[in-house]
C-alpha cells in the first residue's frame, strides 16, 4: 500500500506533529512499507470472530463515586512548563 504526500500531511496534522517536506517524504516511504506489512491481515477470514481486547474478557470494574485522592495542585504544578496564580498557561485561544 502506498500513501500520498497529502495522506501523510493529514495524519501529521491529526497527530499534532509539525513536519517539513523532507520529513513528510521520509515518513511516507516508511509508513508505506509498514502498511505493506500490515496488509497481510486483510487476507484472513474473520467472519463471526469477536474482537478481543482483554485476554480474560473482563468487564470494567466500577466503584462508588467518592473522592479517593487529595488535592495536590501545588505539587503537580511545580513541574509544569508555565503556571501563574495556580493556572496552567498556554497561548491565548479566545480573543
Amino acid at each position: 500500500m502506498s500513501l500520498s504526500t497529502l495522506d501523510v500531511e493529514k495524519i501529521a496534522r491529526l497527530a499534532r506533529l509539525a513536519m517539513d517536506e523532507n520529513e513528510v517524504e521520509a515518513a511516507r516511504l516508511q509508513l508505506s512499507g509498514i502498511f505493506g506489512l500490515i496488509a497481510e491481515m486483510q487476507a484472513v477470514d474473520t467472519d463471526g470472530v469477536e474482537p478481543m481486547s482483554h485476554s480474560q474478557d473482563l468487564a470494567q470494574r466500577l466503584r462508588e463515586d467518592v473522592i479517593t485522592d487529595s488535592n495536590q495542585r501545588e505539587l503537580f504544578q511545580t513541574i509544569a512548563p508555565q503556571v501563574e496564580a495556580g493556572l496552567y498557561l498556554v497561548p491565548q485561544v479566545i480573543e
Binding site: L14, A18, V44, H54, Q56, L58, T78
Partner: protein
C-alpha cells in the same frame, strides 16, 4: 557478592555480614566504573539510594526484614518513582521528576528494597535494540559493538554486567524477553493483569505488562512475589489470591509435556540459535520431559496485528504529551496548535512519531473497522491457537529471538526489519499469556541465546519451576561477560 542470588544476599544482610549501605555503595562504585562503557543507566541518585539503604538497615536491625529488604535493584525508567527523574527514554520527559510512585515501585518500597537507579530504554519502550533512546544506545556487556535488545535493554545490560542484584522491565511485544535473551539473563513477562500498570508510563495499554529480570529463575520468583498483586488504580488489574511464585521451584519435571510450535522452528531462525534451543530441549528430555509438536497457525500474523494495535493505543496514550502540564515544551511557538505541534515534533524521536502516525491513521475515520477491529478479531484467533495447543502440552518452548544480538546501527533505517526481530514474542502479548526467556547457550561470536518458555494463563509458578530445574542442571545462567 555480585554473583550471589537474592536469597543469599538476603541471608548475608540478615546475618549482618554486610549492611545495606555498604552493599549499595559497592554497587554504586561498580556502576561508576563500568556504566560509562555500557550506558545502562539514565539516572543515578546516590543520595536517595543510600537514604533507602540506611532505612533498610534499621529495619533489618529491628528484625522486620522481608525477602528483598536492603537489596539494591534497578528500575526501568518507565516506572514513576517519587523524587526520581523519570524520562521513559524520551526528551519529552527530560525534566520530569515524578510526583508519585508507580504501584510496582510502592511494592518494592514497602518491601524495603533499594532503588539503585533508573535504567535506559528505547523511547517510550518502542524499539528492539535500545537505539531509540534519547539518552543514547545501551551497549551489550558481551560485546559493546552490539545492541542489548530492547526495550528493557538498560535493565538487561545492568543485570548481565552485575550492576544490580536484579531489576524490572516491561514487555509490550517482547521488551523483557528479547533483551534478556540477547544479554544472557532471565526475564519473565507475567500474565496480563498480574502486575499493576499504575504509574508505568503507558505505551499500548492492552499489552503492557511489568515483570522481573534477573540472573536466575529463583531470583525472578522472589521479585515477582513483590511485584504482583491487585491494584484498584489499574482498571485491568486482576483480583486474585496472593501466590508464592517460588512454591514449585523444586518440583521434578517428570512427565512435563513440552509443546514445540512447528512455525517457530521453520525458516527465519538463525542456525546458531536453533542449535542452542535444540540442545536445551534435549536437556529437558533428560530431566524427564516429553515433547509434542504443536501448531500456532495464526502466529505469523502477530507482527502485522501488533503493528496495528500497539501504535493505535500508543497514539491515544501519547496524546497527553502536549507541553502544558509537565515535560518538554518547545521554546518558541505561535498559537496553541503551533505549540502542540512544535512541542511534539521536538520532544518525540523518529520511531515514536512513526508509531503515533500509524496509530492515528488506523484509528482515523473510515479505517477503524478495516484495521483496528480486524486486528482485534485476528488477535482472538491467535489466542485460540494457544488455547488449542495447551490441550496437548503444559508449556511451549522455542527461541526468544531469531538471532543473537546484532551490531549497533545494523538494522539501520528499515523499521520493518527491526519489527521482525520480535516475531516469536509478540503473539504471547496479544494472547495475554505469560512468557519468559532463560539463557540456553551461545551462538555466533559467542553471543548468548535465549530459550523462550510460554505458559498457560497464571502458570508463572510452573514456568519458574521449569526454568529453575534447567538452571540446576546447566550453568548458562551463571556465565558472566568477560571483563565484568
Amino acid at each position: 557478592m555480585f554473583e550471589s542470588s537474592l536469597r543469599q544476599i538476603g541471608a548475608a544482610l540478615a546475618a549482618r555480614k554486610i549492611s545495606s549501605v555498604e552493599l549499595t555503595q559497592l554497587y554504586l562504585d561498580r556502576i561508576a566504573r563500568l556504566n560509562p562503557a555500557l550506558n545502562a543507566f539514565i539516572t543515578l541518585n546516590p543520595e536517595l539510594s543510600l537514604a533507602q539503604a540506611k532505612a533498610a538497615d534499621a529495619r533489618i536491625a529491628a528484625g522486620k526484614a522481608d525477602a528483598l529488604t536492603g537489596i539494591p535493584l534497578a528500575q526501568k525508567d518507565i516506572f514513576c518513582a517519587k523524587g526520581w527523574l523519570t524520562t521513559c527514554g524520551s526528551k519529552m520527559l527530560h525534566n520530569f521528576v515524578s510526583p508519585y510512585d508507580a504501584h510496582v515501585i510502592t511494592q518494592f518500597n514497602n518491601a524495603g528494597a533499594i532503588i539503585l537507579g533508573k535504567t535506559n530504554m528505547d523511547e517510550f519502550a518502542m524499539g528492539s535494540s535500545n537505539e531509540t533512546s534519547f539518552y543514547g544506545p545501551v551497549k551489550n556487556p558481551w560485546d559493546t559493538q552490539r545492541v542489548p535488545g530492547g526495550s528493557s535493554g538498560g535493565t538487561a545490560a545492568a543485570v548481565a554486567a552485575r550492576l544490580c542484584a536484579a531489576a524490572t522491565g516491561t514487555d509490550t511485544g517482547g521488551s523483557i524477553r528479547q533483551p534478556a535473551a540477547l544479554c544472557g539473563i532471565s526475564g519473565l513477562k507475567p500474565t496480563y493483569g498480574v502486575c499493576s500498570r499504575y504509574g508505568m508510563i503507558a505505551f499500548a495499554s492492552s499489552l503492557d505488562q511489568a515483570g522481573p529480570m534477573g540472573r536466575s529463575a529463583e531470583d525472578l520468583a522472589l521479585m515477582l512475589n513483590t511485584m504482583a498483586g491487585f491494584d484498584e488504580r489499574d482498571s485491568t488489574s486482576l483480583q486474585r489470591d496472593t501466590e508464592d511464585y517460588a512454591r514449585d521451584l523444586n518440583k521434578p519435571l517428570n512427565g512435563l509435556r513440552i509443546g514445540l510450535p512447528k512455525e517457530f522452528f521453520a525458516a527465519g531462525m538463525g542456525s546458531d540459535v536453533a542449535k542452542a534451543v535444540e540442545a536445551a530441549i534435549a536437556e529437558y528430555k533428560k530431566l524427564g520431559a516429553t515433547v509434542v509438536e504443536i501448531s500456532l497457525p495464526n502466529s505469523k500474523l502477530s507482527v502485522p496485528v501488533y503493528y496495528v494495535l500497539a501504535p493505535a493505543e500508543a497514539s491515544s496514550n501519547l496524546s497527553r504529551f502536549d507541553g502544558v502540564r509537565y515535560g518538554y515544551r518547545a521554546p518558541e511557538y505561535g498559537d496553541l496548535t503551533d505549540m502542540y505541534e512544535k512541542t511534539r515534533a521536538q520532544g518525540f524521536g523518529a520511531e515514536v512519531k512513526r508509531r503515533i502516525m500509524i496509530g492515528t491513521y488506523v484509528l482515523s475515520h473510515g479505517y477503524y473497522d478495516a484495521y483496528y477491529i480486524k486486528a482485534q478479531r485476528i488477535r482472538r484467533l491467535i489466542a485460540q491457537d494457544f488455547a488449542e495447543a495447551f490441550k496437548q502440552c503444559d508449556v511451549i518452548m522455542g527461541p526468544t529471538s531469531p538471532t543473537t544480538a546484532f551490531k549497533l546501527g545494523e538494522k539501520g533505517d528499515d523499521p520493518v526489519q527491526m519489527y521482525l526481530s520480535d516475531i516469536y514474542t509478540i503473539a504471547v502479548n496479544l494472547a495475554g499469556l505469560p512468557g519468559m526467556s532463560i539463557p540456553c547457550g551461545f551462538g555466533e561470536n559467542n553471543m548468548p541465546v535465549g530459550l523462550q518458555i510460554i505458559g498457560n494463563y497464571f502458570d508463572e509458578a510452573r514456568m519458574l519451576n521449569v526454568a529453575h530445574q534447567y538452571q540446576l542442571a546447566t550453568d548458562w545462567h551463571s556465565r558472566a561477560p568477560m571483563g565484568i
